[in-house]
């Protein structure tokens, strides 16, 4: 056993047993961050804060929510919203954060694509991030089921139907997933478990992994410049802070993070108090009714683009296209053949590729909500084809790119 001196402060006492000083140095004070990064790099912290809000508000909601098909709707809309003190606040924070977290994830993803932050040594950052995106999707979907509203029920019906895999007609699989022929008590219990236990656990593990993947390659910067972190950190520690290309995570970058977070929170709470309904489909305020189909069934806004890749095609090709859209982002680091780590606007045809992808996904999102008729289906079909073609031509487009 190690030898222990008498400690003169709590910090010292803990340090002897937990090495908290080393921990703080490695995780915060000497975790080096490039100096030339803009506020888009603070989205990670914004996401961490939003996830924190989701967990805390979720715990409060969990105290009163009833995972029972007869009680769920009223436990949310009456007990939590009206009887529990400030239940409405937790509920709106939870619902708005669930939606806003996807907006920030998309900004975070497109930032990564724009600056080439997935390349050369940073592949695992990208892949772990995509795993987080998929887990958040499962978390959001399972949570959407819980109020047992009309759209919860029918979205649950439609999404679980996808598992019959088109012409394969694996209806047994669908029923196995639901635990019944239609969404019912077993279905609600399962999604409740997934939402409050299994998915959060997976997400927290993946957040740990995502942070871990950053440690060795370090975060990218605005110019895609390869920084010698060892060399630059020495300069910083020697007091040449203005010359050094790196800064400490804490407090240097954290101070910028917190400012961005504070602006984000103003936007977030504005939505919570005065525009909470943007994130909540009015149809979901009708209790689930298995005998009445809503006129239009559509997912929440953050799934609309992938829904629209499924919808304009015939059954089987649609499913293949949908599957393609779900996994293709994972392969981005390997499909981009260019040697450059640089912002898209300094690269060759990739700069057009980036903006076309962004606009195409917004078009898909809009069409995904509109009824699939007339001009909207045509635009949706074209946008879905463009999406697939973009990914197929990516290796060709980037291979020819000259080094910058």
């Amino acid at each position: 056993m190690a030898h222990f001196e008498k400690a003169h402060s709590l910090e010292e006492w803990l340090d002897q047993r937990l090495a908290i000083k080393t921990l703080r140095r490695v995780l915060a004070e000497e975790y080096w961050i490039p100096k030339n990064i803009n506020f888009l790099w603070a989205m990670g912290m914004v996401l961490a804060v939003t996830f924190g809000i989701l967990v805390v508000s979720g715990i409060f909601l969990l105290c009163y929510y009833q995972p029972n098909v007869n009680l769920a709707f009223d436990s949310v809309n009456y007990t939590i919203m009206q009887e529990v003190e400030f239940g409405w606040l937790w509920r709106h924070m939870h619902a708005v954060a669930a939606s806003v977290v996807f907006l920030i994830i998309y900004i975070h993803m497109f930032t990564g694509i724009y600056y080439g932050s997935y390349k050369k040594g940073r592949e695992l950052i990208w892949i772990s991030g995509m795993l987080l995106f998929v887990s958040f999707s499962a978390e959001a979907f399972s949570g959407y089921m819980l109020p047992w509203g009309q759209m919860s029920y029918w979205a649950g019906m439609v999404i679980t139907n996808l598992f019959s895999l088109g012409s394969l007609e694996l209806n047994g699989l669908v029923e196995w997933i639901r635990g019944d022929y239609v969404p019912g008590q077993a279905f609600l219990n399962r999604f409740f478990m997934l939402h409050v236990f299994l998915m959060p656990l997976i997400i927290m593990a993946l957040i740990g992994l995502h942070f871990g993947t950053l440690r060795i390659p370090h975060v990218n910067n605005q110019d895609g410049e390869e920084i010698d972190f060892e060399e630059e950190s020495k300069k910083y520690l020697a007091g040449k802070r203005r010359e050094a290309k790196v800064i400490r995570f804490q407090p240097d970058f954290l101070s910028k993070d917190m400012f961005v977070v504070s602006i984000f929170l103003i936007f977030f709470f504005y939505l919570v108090f005065w525009h909470y309904d943007f994130a909540m489909d009015p149809i979901n305020f009708d209790p689930a009714d298995p005998l009445k189909t809503p006129p239009h069934i559509y997912p929440e806004w953050y799934f609309l683009w992938s829904y629209e890749i499924l919808r304009p095609f015939p059954k089987d090709p649609g499913l293949v296209a949908f599957g393609f859209a779900q996994v293709i982002f994972f392969f981005l680091p390997f499909l981009d053949k260019s040697p450059n780590v640089a912002p898209a606007n300094r690269r060759g045809p990739f700069k057009y590729w980036f903006w076309i992808l962004l606009v195409d996904m917004i078009v898909l999102t809009m069409m995904g909500k509109l009824p699939p008729q007339g001009i909207y289906s045509t635009i949706g079909l074209v946008a879905a084809v463009v999406f697939i073609v973009l990914w197929i031509i990516l290796p060709v487009v980037t291979k020819k790119e000259k080094a910058v």
Binding site: K35, N38, F39, L40, N77, Y78, M81, Q82, F86, W88, L89, H92, L103, I107, R241, R242, I247, P251, D252, S255, K256, M258, F259, V261, S262, I263, L265, I266, F269, Y270, V272, F273, W274, D277, F278, M280, P282, I283, N284, F285, D286, P287, P295, H296, W301, L304, L358, I362, T365, M366, K369, L370, P371, Y376
Partner: protein, 311 residues
């Protein structure tokens, strides 16, 4: 400056996406119905000035109280709700406050031609069924004058419009067909507190019995309205009340015929029940915003103080 440019790009694409999936998609999926301001222009205006005293007589002679109660005048309903529903399909309304809640033109037209005023021809005469309320053919004098008198009478006995509470407006206009279980309202009245479970069960039996009759009469049990303020929103509710056929062609729901003030009260009541914390939301929101602006200001100062040594 560069960061502001980046922010502008992010905000632009965010707003574009928002516009597409909210206001735009909404405008395509839901037909916009303009409010007619509760003017009921398709109904004939009253041409004569009514006399309440004569109206009271005509009201009695015409046999209105054979079906309707006027509790405020000591005339209880001739039948309890369940018995009435057995005869008519629905419990005929108590008319104590009809003069305050309903529009004058609507009342006059309702007396002369109930099916038309209520816009339920498609469910009755056109289907070969008789509407339970017979049209008023006059008691021998000038029919238009008599109708004007009855309307004047109903107005004279009703509470003043400003004294009608939001809940009373709802009960009169909607409460015989729609439940509001977040406020313990059933189609046969408010659910009392019972000391013995057997009484609660007996009451529930009456409610279910009434609902069954209503379902038979309308083809479908009218929905509970507890959450309608959030699932439909004010504009939909208001225009729907004004003319249900506009938004849901073929629906069994009759035109309600309320005046503008009562419509606003009905909506206020629905908001009180379905969105009871809306005032608290606003006041708490302001405090949280003040806190956050201070927080943002301090965060900015902290960032400046640290970064001045870095640049």
């Amino acid at each position: 400056m560069k960061e502001l440019k980046i922010l502008a790009v992010v905000v632009f694409f965010t707003l574009l996406t928002y516009w597409g999936i909210e206001p735009y998609a909404h405008s395509v999926m839901h037909k916009h119905v303009e409010s007619e301001g509760f003017t009921y222009k398709d109904l004939k205006p009253l041409s004569k000035k009514g006399d309440p005293a004569k109206g009271a007589q005509t009201f009695m002679n015409a046999g209105c109280i054979g079906c309707h109660g006027v509790k405020s005048q000591g005339m209880p309903a001739p039948m309890d709700p369940n018995a009435a529903a057995a005869s008519f399909g629905v419990n005929p309304p108590d008319l104590s406050n009809a003069g305050a809640v309903y529009d004058e033109r609507f009342l006059a037209d309702l007396i002369a031609n109930p099916e038309h005023a209520l816009m339920v021809e498609h469910k009755f005469s056109k289907m070969g069924r008789a509407f339970p309320m017979p049209a008023f053919y006059g008691t021998g004098g000038d029919k238009e004058q008599e109708i004007a008198d009855i309307v004047a009478y109903l107005k004279s006995i009703a509470k003043k419009p400003e004294e009608i509470t939001p809940k009373e407006a709802f009960e009169t206009a909607c409460g015989r067909c729609h439940a509001m279980h977040y406020d313990k309202w059933t189609q046969i009245g408010e659910r009392p507190k019972f000391k013995h479970e057997i009484d609660a069960i007996k009451f529930q039996e009456k409610v279910v019995d009434y609902q069954d009759k209503l379902t038979k009469y309308l083809g479908k049990l009218p929905p509970d309205l507890s959450m309608y303020i959030r699932s439909r929103g004010e504009h939909y509710l208001s225009t729907f009340m004004e003319n249900p056929q506009n938004l849901l062609p073929g629906t069994a729901m009759p035109r309600v015929g309320v005046n503008k003030e009562s419509a606003e009260k009905v909506i206020e009541y629905m908001a009180d029940v379905g969105d009871s914390k809306r005032h608290e939301r606003d006041s708490v929101g302001k405090i949280v915003m003040i806190y956050l602006f201070i927080f943002a200001f301090l965060a900015y100062l902290w960032k400046q103080s640290i970064w001045k040594e870095l640049h």
